[in-house]
Symmetry: C2
Subunit: 144 residues, 2 copies
């Protein structure tokens, strides 16, 4: 999804929820879309500070939660005790490979795995809403 489209999606969300569009929210969304994925609140807060925006930590935190609420970002937990956010590609889902040595994160997707998940869930009478699959191991660079 284009950045422009994501921005208008966020504006729409604010409107329909009776929320206001502010300078801070625009700055945070710009930086979020511009920065790489898997950012923690801390990460984004520091990036914004390094620019010269005097934005408070609480505002960054609240805004990231808004992003998640309106569907333009997704929360991730990789077990280091920090919540990370990544821009969602809407229709495209992906899972993660995480290097336990250097922390590198690689995204992947495999329709065959997704299919088996639906099957397994069905066998237990569950209907799947979402899932999380993370493979932890050693990346090529670290296994030399």
């Amino acid at each position: 999804m284009s950045k422009a489209k994501t921005k208008s999606q966020f504006k729409d969300f604010l409107l329909t929820q009776g929320l206001k569009s502010t300078r801070q929210r625009e700055l945070i969304l710009d930086e979020f879309l511009h920065a790489g994925s898997h950012l923690s609140t801390e990460d984004l807060y520091l990036r914004l500070r390094r620019g010269n925006s005097r934005i408070g930590y609480a505002t960054v935190h609240r805004t990231l939660k808004l992003f998640a609420e309106c569907g333009i970002a997704e929360q991730r937990h990789f077990g280091d005790g920090q919540t990370r956010y990544e821009a969602s590609d809407c229709d495209e889902h992906h899972d993660h490979l995480i290097c336990v040595v250097c922390g590198k994160i690689v995204e992947f997707e495999d329709p065959r795995i997704e299919e088996l998940q639906v099957e397994v869930a069905g066998a237990h009478g569950f209907s799947i809403e979402r899932h999380r699959l993370e493979l932890y191991g050693c990346c090529p660079g670290c296994s030399i």
Copy 2:
């Protein structure tokens, strides 16, 4: 794995690490094996208190970490901000189906999915050490 075997595995671990076997550690292991799976530190602490063991929270916490270290328990994170522990069945791995309505947790395993995971990881040059797969959805009881 039998409870007796798990207990001796823990004793061996303590010995080889130069750690001591104490009344508290035995009580905590007993309660851990006796109680259901997916316990948080808080859960286990309260169960022990309800018995009449005056065991400190810090001790429960440290002991659960020991269990994880020596392989008789595994840490789980289901996104509610609490670390949970479950007894590990050693050779047998399983994943989780979690009902988003009632919170019910069902365990499952599917060798075909595991196989595909290894394949996908290999395609990215990764060697897998462990993984996490959680399917969130609606259980049969809640989807009526």
